[in-house]
């Protein structure tokens, strides 16, 4: 019986090639999207779960409140984690990490810049599951100046040599002895590293870290099994109180520690200072939703076409019933057929995936490189998908088709019922509502990205080359490089700074004039030389720039931005005093700074963040803030030539280190990488959703055209024009698409408003977006349906009528 059904179904598929290919293609595209998104979602959900202790590991972070404003960061100070281990028996172990910036790493004559260097306690191997290939996990990182390399990095520096015992020179000042090689960190980790250096190095060499108040490192603790971390969290205020509560009280700061379960960090933690850019649970929901809906659209196609074509099957159903087939048997037959469709579709979907996986990788910036066949759940998962889709798509048609009574078939009074036509309309509206929502979403995302790229940032970001890592040179060296570069042809200006837009920057606590001692404010600080503001085109709204000629500028003058002036409530900021605790003074004395100028607000961070109050200082030595960047403004045109000159000067200046630089505008734009990827993804999926929907519409319209051939012929004989007939045939579909627009607009508005709110500065969703969406969807529908309509309309009526 099964074999007969199979043969029959396959023959049916072959006979109705158009119908079958539309159905299979639609289902396949939907399934491919669904599989792709599922793989992505599963990967997002799998982050950090590969650690054996995943459920027992927590990251310690802190919330700092000062002047009524709170900030959270995933950071702690050096003594905090060890204190937790000794104080609370449920804390079994702890590991501290410290992130090292871009660092030059040298072995013999090989030298590279490395971004992925972490300092770590040896307990990292006990707490996390980072298996060592070489070396002793019990003591690899216990001594200062030891390091463990990832396999890839070990090969990069040492090739086939055994790296154990060899040394790497970091930033030309520290020699690390290699004590181990660790397996590369899996991609689904919220932090990764290429090189682990022993945290003991920092303990020994950087005494300032041991202060409780120097909160610059990361710490993860391992709890006992089945321990409620909330209970531990509740005990932590006591720890802070005991160890530096008094100090904090003095400066009007309160600090609260909190714990984050390791497995929730990747999707739910978005603080300043994360170890790496995390994922976003909203996107997981969003794309899961998209996957489900795209699959539904494909199923709807199947349902629509199957019911529209039901008449073609009516005779068969009637006859089978006269042979004694019961309805349940017919239902099974039809569902079996749809599962067969689904099976063929999944095969095509896998082919599509193979073809388009690299493309998806380049769109998302994340390769789904796992060969999915190897995943244990993949085949069973696919079978479940096949069954689900087969049932979702096939159930309604099966019930509908199997309901035909033989008597109706025999009497030939099977008109495709009005109710069914209405049902199909509802389904078409559903499909288009979803596609149109995606189209509107795409337009809004691109509008915002366009806005973000074209908005006035308050500085001129083009044609600026930045050389990082200036902090490794002495002041005099920085100055001489600066002078040398200023003289080059094609160089407009050269300036030094502690941070550049999009990178760097730190916060310090200040006491502006008019605020009482317990109201100190945490404010961003930037250190610049006197060339920085003009070089970057940052405008002064009042006062003056720093000047070399005025000796006090490098000691006690500051410039603030408009937001700072507004926050401090100053109408006239020039001459106001901003005090700051003197880190050199033991008993909490103050340093005074005088405001000499106010700059127009400029964006130091992406447009996701509002412009924050900013205090700009000149070379003020007691600050921790150090010069790290050299920015060079170039003349437009012939940039390559100028770059060659600069590179040349660099090698004279320091022949040891390769010339390392970035363009300011590119670096700033990188902050929107995730937004751009989102835009590309939404665009891709809306294209696919539209494609699937159009396939359905095409099938449906050719079916109605076929049904109406005679009616159209009669109308033509009666004098209807071709245009009139095309319009007649388009009318009902256009109406459906318009209606879908009406449903889609509020939906898109609500979803996209939420996304836009992640930007401090964003476009408004205007009517224009929706008008454009309506136009696009209309054009798509007219093109899809129009072809059939025109074909039917120009048919010679005599021919159509002769068939009768």
């Amino acid at each position: 019986m099964l074999r007969n059904y199979l043969k029959f179904a396959l023959r049916n598929i072959k006979r109705n090639k158009g119908y079958s290919s539309i159905n299979i293609a639609g289902l396949a595209i939907g399934m491919a999207c669904c599989i792709l998104i599922t793989m992505w979602v599963l990967e997002e959900l799998s982050f950090d779960r590969y650690h054996e202790n995943a459920e027992r590991i927590y990251r310690v972070g802190h919330e700092l409140t000062i002047g009524g404003i709170s900030r959270t960061a995933p950071l702690v100070s050096l003594p905090m984690a060890p204190a937790m281990v000794s104080e609370y028996p449920e804390v079994v172990n702890a590991v501290r990490f410290s992130k090292s910036g871009r660092t030059s790493v040298r072995y013999g004559d090989k030298v590279f810049y490395e971004e992925g260097i972490l300092f770590a306690d040896n307990s990292v191997f006990d707490i996390f599951s980072f298996p060592l290939v070489e070396g002793d996990p019990g003591k690899a990182l216990t001594a200062p100046l030891t390091a463990v390399l990832c396999e890839t990095i070990a090969r990069k520096y040492f090739g086939d040599e055994n790296p154990i015992g060899k040394t790497l020179l970091c930033n030309d000042n520290r020699n690390f002895t290699i004590t181990g090689v660790v397996k590369d960190v899996p991609r689904n980790s919220h932090f990764t590293f290429d090189i682990l250096c022993s945290y003991e190095t920092l303990v020994k060499e950087e005494a300032w870290r041991s202060e409780w108040g120097n909160i610059v490192d990361y710490a993860y603790i391992l709890l006992e099994k089945n321990n409620d971390y909330r209970a531990l969290e509740a005990k932590l205020p006591a720890l802070i109180d005991k160890n530096f509560g008094e100090q904090l009280q003095q400066i009007g700061v309160s600090i609260k520690l909190f714990l984050q379960p390791l497995t929730s960090i990747h999707l739910n933690s978005h603080m300043m200072g994360e170890l790496a850019g995390n994922g976003n649970i909203d996107y997981v929901y969003l794309f899961s939703g998209i996957a489900v809906f795209i699959l539904l659209i494909a199923c709807v196609n199947f349902i629509n076409l199957a019911t529209a074509r039901a008449l073609g099957r009516a005779k068969e159903v009637g006859m089978r019933k006269t042979f004694g087939a019961v309805r349940s048997k017919l239902i099974r037959q039809f569902i079996g057929e749809s599962i067969l469709f689904s099976l063929l579709a999944v095969i095509l979907a896998l082919l599509l995936l193979e073809l388009f996986l690299p493309l998806f990788g380049s769109i998302t910036g994340r390769e789904l490189s796992v060969s999915f066949w190897q995943l244990p759940w993949f085949i069973p998962g696919l079978l479940v998908l096949v069954l689900l889709v087969g049932l979702a798509a096939g159930s309604y048609p099966a019930f509908y088709l199997s309901s035909f009574r033989p008597i109706k078939v025999l009497k030939g009074d099977l008109k495709s019922g009005r109710t069914n036509a209405r049902f199909r309309s509802v389904l078409v509206i559903f499909q288009f509502t979803f596609s149109i929502t995606l189209i509107a979403g795409t337009i809004i995302v691109y509008n915002q990205l366009n806005y973000v790229r074209s908005v006035d940032l308050g500085f001129q970001q083009e044609q600026v080359v930045v050389i990082p890592n200036m902090n490794r040179f002495r002041l005099s060296q920085q100055e001489s490089l600066k002078n040398e570069l200023s003289g080059l042809a094609g160089v407009v200006d050269v300036a030094l700074s502690s941070g550049v837009p999009g990178r760097g920057g730190s916060m310090q606590s200040f006491l502006p004039e008019g605020f009482s001692e317990d109201q100190s404010q945490l404010i961003a600080v930037m250190k610049i030389d006197e060339r920085y503001l003009p070089a970057m085109g940052i405008e002064l709204v009042s006062g003056r720039n720093f000047s070399k000629a005025i000796a006090t500028d490098s000691v006690e003058s500051v410039i603030i931005n408009e937001t700072a002036a507004a926050k401090f409530g100053w109408d006239e900021a020039i001459g106001k005093i901003i005090k700051q605790t003197n880190p050199e003074s033991e008993e909490g004395g103050y340093l005074s700074n005088t405001v000499i100028g106010v700059v127009k607000d400029f964006h130091l961070s992406s447009l996701h963040e509002p412009v924050e109050p900013l205090i700009i200082v000149n070379k003020y030595e007691p600050f921790l803030e150090t010069i790290r960047f050299l920015s060079i403004r170039l003349e437009p045109g012939n940039i390559r030539n100028t770059m060659d000159l600069i590179a040349n000067r660099w090698s004279n200046f320091n022949s040891n280190l390769p010339f390392d630089y970035f363009f300011l505008d590119e670096s700033f734009a990188k902050q929107y990488r995730h937004d751009e990827q989102l835009g590309n993804l939404v665009l891709s999926f809306s294209l696919l959703a539209v494609l699937i929907g159009c396939l359905g519409l095409l099938g449906l319209s050719s079916f109605t055209a076929e049904q109406r051939t005679r009616e159209i012929a009669v109308r033509k004989v009666l004098g209807a024009s071709i245009v009139g007939i095309v319009r007649l045939m388009l009318r009902e579909f256009i109406f459906l698409v318009l209606l879908a627009n009406v449903f889609a607009w509020p939906l898109a508005y609500l979803i996209m408003k939420r996304w836009l709110e992640s930007f401090a500065y964003h476009v408004d969703i205007g009517m224009g977006v929706f008008v454009l969406t309506a136009l696009i969807s209309m054009v798509i529908a007219v093109i899809t349906v129009g072809y059939q309509a025109v074909k039917t309309a120009i048919l010679n009526p005599v021919e159509a009528l002769r068939h009768e």
């Binding site: 007969n4 006859m319 042979f323 004694g324 087939a325 019961v326 033989p406 078939v409």
Partner: protein, 222 residues
């Protein structure tokens, strides 16, 4: 075998009922060859459909064998189709997607006949109707007469006790019609009960009993 008591069939059209069959009383015994005659629209097809349980009477009682048809569930009807009834239609109603062979095989599938036996039954039937050469053709590749031949073969392959044929020769020319009628006569001689609707006197002459319908009334029951 078949007992119709006061069978009435009407269609509600507006507030009026259109009567198609009026108080039909009819008994048909096993082995009979009955012909239902009457002008077009007289209700012949309706009567056959009711006898074949494809349609329900509006009023009256119908007993088929020992079953009160009115009370039968769908499953039981399907069971009766499988066991006792073969249908032949004016427009053949072969399944277009199936070959001649497969069309013949299909009723056996629902009867759960075993594969090997199915094969021999289909082959026997093909032989008997002399259409072995056509077994791999699709209905669209056959002439009308050949299609009806297959239709009849399909109706009898499951060895029904009753064949209901609604104008089986309506779409055929007289030569082909004659062949079909001879076939029915032979089947009847083998013991199969046959009820056919027709308005051709020539066809009627093959049957042993003729029933006349006019405006829904059974006017003559010979």
């Amino acid at each position: 075998m078949i007992q119709l008591r006061n069978i009435t069939r009407y269609y509600a059209s507006g507030s009026l009922n259109t009567y198609v069959l009026r108080r039909i009383n009819l008994d048909i015994r096993e082995g009979e060859f009955v012909c239902v005659m009457g002008p077009s629209g007289a209700g012949k097809s309706t009567l056959l459909n009711i006898i074949g349980m494809l349609d329900d009477a509006s009023e009256g009682e119908y007993h088929f064998l020992d079953y009160n048809v009115h009370n039968l569930k769908e499953k039981q009807r399907s069971q009766l189709y499988k066991e006792y009834i073969g249908f032949v239609f004016q427009s053949y109603h072969l399944i277009d997607e199936l070959t001649v062979y497969e069309n013949l095989e299909t009723p056996l599938l629902y009867k759960k006949v075993k594969s090997s036996q199915r094969k021999s039954m289909v082959c026997d039937t093909l032989d008997r109707f002399q259409i072995v050469g056509k077994k791999d053709l699709f209905p669209s590749q056959l002439s009308g007469g050949q299609q009806q031949l297959v239709g009849i073969a399909r109706a009898i392959i499951a060895e029904p006790k009753l064949i209901l044929a609604d104008e089986p020769t309506g779409n055929l020319h007289s030569e082909e019609g004659k062949k079909i009628m001879e076939l029915f006569t032979r089947l009847n001689e083998e013991g199969v009960t046959i009820i056919q609707a027709t308005h051709s006197e020539q066809n009627a002459s093959y049957s042993k009993r003729i029933i006349y319908l006019k405006d829904g009334w059974l006017v003559d029951n010979l």
